[in-house]
Each structure stands twice: as structure tokens, then as C-alpha cells.
């Protein structure tokens, strides 16, 4: 593994830390549980946003 790849990993650490936090987050007993509709809608929104990022990266690579 070279120095550049290490820099890549380090650059993505904030996203990785967020994933760890969400994985270990413990809901307070009084916190409302997400509804099924919210879970499904959240996935669709996430997918739409992620596909938009794909398009943005494609556009940027095409412009280089």
C-alpha cells in the first residue's frame, strides 16, 4: 500500500466514523421507532442521492 492510498483512506475516515457511530447508536427508550414507511422512504431517498453522486462523478471524469 503506497502513501497515496493511505491518504485516500484517511480522506474517507469521516464517512467511516459516521458509519461506526450509526451502527453503535443506541436509541433512548423514549425515542420513537421509525415506521416501516419511513424506513422504505429513507432507502429510496438514499438511493436517489447516491445515484446523483454517481452522475456527478461521471460528469467530472468526463470533463477532465
Amino acid at each position: 500500500m503506497n502513501e497515496n492510498l493511505t491518504n485516500v483512506i484517511i480522506a474517507n475516515l469521516p464517512a467511516a466514523v459516521d458509519l461506526i457511530k450509526s451502527a453503535f447508536a443506541k436509541a433512548h427508550p423514549d425515542d420513537p421507532q421509525p415506521t416501516s414507511e419511513e424506513i422504505i422512504a429513507g432507502l429510496h431517498a438514499h438511493i436517489a442521492a447516491s445515484l446523483a453522486v454517481d452522475d456527478a462523478i461521471d460528469a467530472e471524469l468526463g470533463a477532465q
Partner: protein
């Protein structure tokens, strides 16, 4: 010192993805469709991380533009499949990830770079009930 830093970063990355899948349990109040969506969310996050790492790698001249485009295309295919086939996306997504490692347009060195991250994403998929 540099080796310790690299090992620490790798360990953090591995534990991140394993923690994402291994520690999350679907709330008991969800419908079967919502439970599938709950687990799919974890996989989409793992796929996003692979895509983002490839993009960062291209910016740092570790991956070529062509290889980065290939990773983005696989990510797009995988995510669209998860959206379209909520209960049957696993084989297609696993096959798409495998395809990157058999892609003749990607150099062996780049495959060597991508392999650990693809393996982590596939491990995340395997953990989904």
C-alpha cells in the same frame, strides 16, 4: 511509524464495515418489506464507501479514470438493482462486484488496490439475513 499508521487505518476500515452490518438489528415493529429495506440500507452505505474510495483514489492518482468509471458503473447497477428487486438483489450485486476483479480493462495493480474494499462490501452482503 508509517506502517503502524497504515495498519491502524486498515483495521479501522475493516471494523467500520463489519460494525455497520454486524451490530444493526432491524426494529421489531417493521413489516417484512421495511426489514428488507433496513438491511439494504447498510449495503448501500457499504457500496457508497467503495465508490467514494475509488473516486478519492482517482483524485490521488492511485486509480485511473477508466477504472473509477467502472467502479461507479458497478455501484450504479448494484444500487438500482437493490431499489428494483428488494428481495432478490444479492446475486446480481455480488456478481457485479466480482466483475470488477475479472475486468480485463483494469490492471492487476488496480485490482490489488480494489480487492480488499470489494471483499468488505461482499462480506457486508453475506451478513444480510
Amino acid at each position: 511509524m508509517l506502517m503502524i499508521r497504515r495498519l491502524t487505518v486498515c483495521a479501522l476500515l475493516v471494523s467500520t464495515l463489519l460494525a455497520v452490518v454486524g451490530c444493526r438489528h432491524a426494529p421489531p415493529n417493521l413489516t417484512p418489506q421495511a426489514t428488507a429495506a433496513f438491511h439494504a440500507e447498510s449495503v448501500v452505505k457499504a457500496l457508497d464507501l467503495v465508490r467514494d474510495i475509488a473516486y478519492s483514489a482517482q483524485k490521488n492518482h492511485v486509480l485511473s479514470k477508466a477504472t473509477t468509471r467502472a467502479v461507479v458503473d458497478v455501484h450504479r447497477t448494484a444500487v438500482k438493482t437493490i431499489d428494483a428487486v428488494p428481495n432478490g438483489w444479492k446475486p446480481t450485486v455480488q456478481s457485479a462486484l466480482d466483475g470488477l476483479l475479472t475486468n480485463k480493462e483494469i490492471s492487476d495493480a488496480e485490482k490489488h488496490t480494489l480487492a480488499p474494499y470489494l471483499a468488505l462490501a461482499k462480506a457486508a452482503i453475506q451478513e444480510i439475513p
